[in-house]
Symmetry: C2
Subunit: 377 residues, 2 copies
């Protein structure tokens, strides 16, 4: 199959860039002496995760139980479900655990700990638990100053049905950094909060074998992860325009793009109309908060070379509107009806989930593989 | 199965509201004397479309060839693919036509007409074609003033491989209306542009049996559709907060919502954290341009009753953050850990596509059906 014969829109994955991205992160983590627990939420694809797992212990992170079930069905047993546990999900987790999946859960409240323990005792199950920490005010989690930390830790350690395995944090605030120095500081803070909480638990006589941190920006710019036992990240496999805007990658590192056809013009307005709308790109406008707003994505020629003067300025469900970034006159001859383009997306997780599969390419016109994704819950 | 036992997040569809919405539109169109060609792009589900087709001729509109294939596989033959044709899709359309699908295509350029004709002649196929019109400057299409209109019409009529069937327009600009009067004017304009172009074609001696218009706002507020032969709309089946903000429906008319669990708090910030993030709600922020910004959605109790003081203010992939709309103190006792809520979405098309299926409910706690959706391309 040729790339240039694909029906549009299609999600394209450049294998060489994917391999380079996972190699770079693997080597960086190797220098820091910390193993990776790749996050499966961006790719949602076993073929991608197998590449990310090369040279690693073999455990992964997931964001849904559908991912957990999918990856477990493909032979991955060590699964960290990194969203605060909801009681209604314990049945599903217990079922997967009885089938052999080693699923760890996370929580940040005594209520969750009690519900998990009660369920575990009743169903002869012991849930391994990480306590979720808040290292940057971004979302969920306890801080070293929260008095509940030790209480929850002791409850998890002392109560049947649950087992205290350690702590976890995610420096999600690093996505909003304005400079590399801020990301480096976020990486230090993420590590420091996690290590401090681990030490508080240990000082209280509690075990804390796992100290888990991670986000693609902080993982990329971490310089010292002493005390950390694993790093979680997912976006680094593909990268995206938000990461490029942060300085975490170059635009040339991006491994995914959306193949689209030119289907029309509004010549007086300077618009080129394509068939990659928000259904193909997602509604994510993450770069709108950055120095350079990339609209819904940067236009590339069909071989993936950026044409940086042109962006997808707006979208409808199945239509994208390309304009010149500077508002200048459109060169319509550059975009004949039926010609193919590729669009680099703002946010890899959001764009990829709109598609059922990756069309995997190398630097030729050949589609060398089709990799399926998992979708929904 | 009970609603209150579902794993979260889940897409909930209230059958009674769906039936009421399709009945209201059917009766309105009946009064106007124009048949509906329901748009399959919102529901992407045969069970929903079957309800929408009651009392109608049986043809539908689709936004992707995957939808066309899916609906055709469920017995719907008359399919209007309402996105400007891309050459790379003609193979797929010809294949479906040879299997018996009566697929009509649309276009607004001589280049597209020539490609379709050349393909049709070569492969012994005749593509029925509607000429796409621009009634409001919103997106694609020709206007009555465009000299190409008659030229393209004549080419489609005279050339083998293609057949001129009529004209089509979509008043997408009506989504940005600020008052009902604006929507009524958009409905008049949509009809007038379509009818004017049909008359121009007929005055040139060309056939124009089909005059197709539609958008949910203009369909709802159209008062006279003389000269129009069919109306296309999709969102009206479910409605959403954007439509409610426009005055096209009441919030109580909305048939879909996302079931979610409370999984935590940040008490000092007044945040209730749930497991319905942007993956469950979509990144659509359509109400941000309206008078009342609904964030990522309005919070409801598990039975679907809105709690209008509370909205989902921000989201991560699998996390939603609920705040009080007025910034006042959060009543955390109202949202115990593990309790279930429902979130009304901004944009039905965008939220529904994040899910693989609908859990269909009535006014009880019982899930009465599970309806599958089609996803991707």
């Amino acid at each position: 199959m040729k790339l240039s014969e694909l029906e549009t829109p299609r999600l394209i994955l450049e294998r060489g860039k994917l391999e380079q991205n996972v190699r770079t992160m693997r080597e960086h983590m190797g220098r820091l002496g910390v193993p990776l627990r790749p996050h499966g939420k961006t790719a949602k694809c076993i073929d991608v995760i197998r590449l990310a797992l090369e040279g690693q212990p073999g455990g992964i992170t997931v964001s849904t139980l559908k991912e957990a079930e999918y990856y477990f069905g493909h032979g991955i047993k060590d699964l960290l479900y990194a969203v605060g546990i909801a009681p209604v999900k314990l049945d599903h987790i217990a079922k997967l655990r009885k089938e052999g999946a080693e699923i760890t859960i996370i929580l940040d409240s005594m209520e969750q700990a009690q519900v998990a323990a009660t369920y575990g005792k009743k169903h002869d199950e012991t849930f391994p638990v990480l306590i979720e920490l808040d290292s940057d005010g971004h979302r969920s989690g306890l801080t070293p100053a929260d008095p509940e930390l030790i209480g929850i830790g002791r409850f998890l350690h002392d109560t049947k049905g649950v087992e205290l395995k350690g702590v976890l944090t995610h420096a999600g605030g690093s996505y909003g950094a304005k400079a590399i120095d801020e990301i480096k500081k976020a990486a230090v803070q993420e590590r420091d909060v996690a290590v401090a909480c681990a030490q508080l638990l240990r000082a209280a006589g509690l075990p804390c074998p796992v100290v888990s941190v991670g986000s693609t920006p902080t993982a990329t710019y971490a310089e010292d992860l002493a005390g950390v036992t694993e790093v979680r990240a997912g976006v680094y496999m593909f990268f995206d325009l938000v990461m490029a805007g942060l300085g975490v990658c170059a635009i040339e590192d991006m491994a995914i793009s959306v193949l689209t056809s030119v289907i029309g013009y509004q010549k007086k307005k300077g618009w080129v109309i394509t068939d990659a709308g928000w259904m193909a790109m997602s509604r994510d406008r993450g770069t709108s908060r950055q120095t350079t707003d990339q609209g819904y994505g940067i236009v590339c020629s069909v071989d993936g070379t950026p044409i940086p003067d042109y962006i997808v300025d707006s979208t409808n469900q199945e239509h994208g509107i390309i304009v010149r970034r500077d508002g200048g006159a459109m060169d319509f001859n550059r975009f004949p009806i039926g010609s193919l383009l590729r669009i680099l997306p703002n946010h890899a997780c959001a764009t990829a989930t709109m598609h059922d599969r990756y069309h995997v390419v190398n630097r030729t016109d050949d589609v060398i593989d089709v990799w399926q994704r998992v979708h929904g819950w």
